[in-house]
Structure formats: structure tokens, C-alpha cells
Subunit: 228 residues, 2 copies
């Protein structure tokens, strides 16, 4: 089951970030990730331990958001939240940049914050930085991506999903700004196989998605797959 449908499943970070998400929802999320062999699950920090209990000794990665979804926390709190998430079992951290700094072109501050968070995490933990591209003009998206690179993170992520969906244009902009130095995670409003493919073609290596199951079910039909 690991190479079905153009390996699209391996691109998906299966996501549940609503405030009303319950323990049961988290269990379901993890079971679905196992069934479809998604790359990982993305959860709020309070649920990381729950995921770890279910997913340890499996290939599914646990991704915790931090400073989410506003990014307007003190740097030390964002850092501590990330460190604790790793201690609880997170393999990757998706942190929200201070968007107020980005829209005010204060990229040095943003870079310094990312550097500090990166320094506090073990080397084998992947750090993604969310820049909320929907709030930025094209030049700011490019400069923000440079800050993410200079801060030592591994991915730039388009948005939280709370402030509009990702566009192909955004992924292209980030991909070109990244110059192969970091990868791109697209997130927000991904609902169709076609859209998922286009985002990957535009340069995204990962897709953050709450509709992953619905997309996989559509792919199953497209591929005339009769398995239950």
C-alpha cells in the first residue's frame, strides 16, 4: 500500500487542528494515517503524546504545530512549546512566524526568532516555518522564505489554513525563492486530487491536508481500485 496512486499518500500530512478536536478524533486520525500510509499526522501540541502512544514503532511521523495559528507569542514560549512537543514524541515542528513582523518587513527579527527555535531543537527534528502567504505580498513572501532559510529551518509552509487556502502561485513563488535550499509545504484548502498534483508540480514536496481521506477515496475511484 506504500506506492499507490503516484505515491500521493506519502506526500500527505494528515491534519486535525480544530479547537474542538477530541481524543477520539486524534485516535481516528492516527488510524487513518496507518491505513493509508500517510507521511504523518499534524496535531496541536496537547495531542502529541496521544499520537505517540498509537504511532510509535510505525513509519508515520508526528508533526506538532507550535505558536499556532497566530504566531504572536513570545519567542521563548514558542521555543519551549516546540521543545516540549519533541519531548512528547513529535518528529517535526510546524511553527508560525511572527506575521506582524513579516508584514512590516522586519525580516531580521523573524530570522532571529527562527534561528533561536532551530538552535533549541535536536538536529534530527525537521523544522517548518509557516509564513501565512495570504497576508503577504509577493516580495514579502520571497523575503520571508529567505529568512526561513537563514534561520536554519528545513521547510517553508504556505499558511495555517485559518486565513484562506494555498494557491499554485504562492507555491511557485516560494519554490523559486527557496532555490533548493529548503522544501515547500503547501497547506490550506486542499480538497481535490487535481489540486494536490498541481501543488506538487509547482514545487511542494508536502501537503498539509484535513481532506486527505476524501482525496484518497477519489483517487481510488479514478484508479478503478476495487479493494475495500
Amino acid at each position: 500500500m506504500t506506492d499507490i496512486y503516484e505515491n500521493l499518500n506519502l506526500r500527505f500530512e494528515h491534519t486535525a487542528l480544530k479547537p474542538e478536536t477530541t481524543t477520539k478524533d486524534i485516535e481516528k486520525l492516527c488510524q487513518e494515517a496507518l491505513l493509508w500510509q500517510f507521511y504523518g499526522v499534524v496535531v496541536n501540541p496537547v495531542w502529541v503524546k496521544e499520537c505517540q502512544t498509537i504511532l510509535r514503532n510505525t513509519k508515520i511521523k508526528i508533526i506538532s504545530v507550535c505558536g499556532f495559528p497566530l504566531g504572536a507569542n513570545r519567542t521563548d514560549i514558542k521555543t519551549m512549546e516546540a521543545v516540549k512537543a519533541v519531548n512528547d514524541g513529535a518528529n517535526e515542528i510546524d511553527i508560525v512566524a511572527n506575521i506582524g513582523w513579516l508584514v512590516a518587513d522586519e525580516f531580521t527579527k523573524a530570522e532571529k526568532e527562527i534561528t533561536e527555535i532551530r538552535k533549541s531543537l535536536p538536529y534530527n527534528i525537521i523544522l517548518k516555518v509557516i509564513i501565512e502567504a495570504n497576508k503577504l505580498n509577493k516580495e514579502q513572501q520571497i523575503n520571508a522564505t529567505r529568512s526561513v532559510i537563514n534561520g536554519g529551518a528545513q521547510f517553508v509552509k504556505t499558511g495555517t489554513g485559518f486565513f484562506g487556502g494555498v494557491t499554485i502561485e504562492q507555491v511557485k513563488t516560494l519554490y523559486h525563492a527557496a532555490r533548493g535550499q529548503i522544501e515547500i509545504k503547501a497547506a490550506g484548502g486542499i480538497k481535490e486530487p487535481k489540486q494536490a498534483r498541481e501543488l506538487i508540480e509547482a514545487g511542494a514536496s508536502r501537503l498539509g491536508c484535513s481532506s486527505s481521506i476524501q482525496i484518497m477515496e477519489q483517487l481510488k475511484i479514478e484508479n478503478n481500485d476495487k479493494r475495500p
Copy 2:
């Protein structure tokens, strides 16, 4: 200027919580609060120090949200964020409960978390707990309010504003559940003087509001106030 228009200004917590809020926006927020003599300003934690610089030695209170707006953080991180906000100059803390616990009727967990946060804050700091009423049924709203009381907080707050606006019905429900033991803060989508008055009549003693200026300007016209 402190008793204009039925003292409505003294009910307002003048709010700026968007991710793209900048230093300049925060300065403007504080100046507006001074001009209209609002009860206080509500900001994300990274901006508390900025407010403190402008508002120290004035009557305007500084309110920091914490664990905002999802509430799905570890309890120790929420607590540390609140403690740091107070150290930075916050007079009041608006913390988001774990909404996933509330919708799953796990009120004991919610109460324990509130108790822990309350214990970590100085006695003179007002603690408000956001229960996101739009995600709860009426019984859950009542039980959540009881948890807020038992946890030792001073206010129950209807919502974050990120998941729909407050209703008169919600304020009535919370007010009756509170039995005078805690106060009610209404927040989310408050845009008209009439609505503000109705929420107060229903039992809210404070209003969290991003449209405070627009409401005061309308009141100025209603009251035929010619001052600039």
C-alpha cells in the same frame, strides 16, 4: 470623558488579535484606548511589553490572551505564557480552555487545568477563561461555566471571535450558570451600540471588541456630541 454615553466605553476591552497586527497597530490601539478611556486593550502576548511602555501610569488595563485561539496547548505552556505575560505587564489574562475536553464532556480535566493556571498567577491578576460557546451545546456551556468557577477564575468569556460571534442567548446562559460567582465577558462580532447594550442587559459586564471606535463614533452621533 469617563462617563460619556452610559459609560459604555468603560465596558470595552479594545481588541487587536489578528496575526498581521504590527507594532504600529498596537501603538494605535493604545492611543485609541487612552482617547476613549476604554477599560483596557487586548493583545497577543508578544505585544504586551509594547502596551506597557505606552500605558504604564494610566488607568487603561493590559489584557493578554494566552493559549489563543485554539486552547490545544499543553497546560504547562499555557501557564508559562500567562506568567510571562504578567511579568511583561499584563493586568488580566484571557486563556482559552481545552475545547476538545469541553465538547467531550471532560470537565474535570478542564477544571484541573484552570486551577493550575490560576495558582500560578498573582492574586491580583484577573483570569478569564474562554469556552468557545459556539462549539458547545447549552448544557456544555453551563458545565463549562461551573468548571471556570471551580477553577478559581474571575470571568467566563464566550469565545475567541475566530469561530463566530457571540449571541444574547449565550450570555444569558452563562450569566445564569455563573450565579453571581464570576462575571461574563462577551466577545466576537460586536459591531453596533444596540448589540452592545443588549449584551450588557443579558449579563455581560465586559465586551471584547475590535470595532470599539466605530461603536463610539455611532454613539457620538446618537448623542449629538459636537466635540471633535
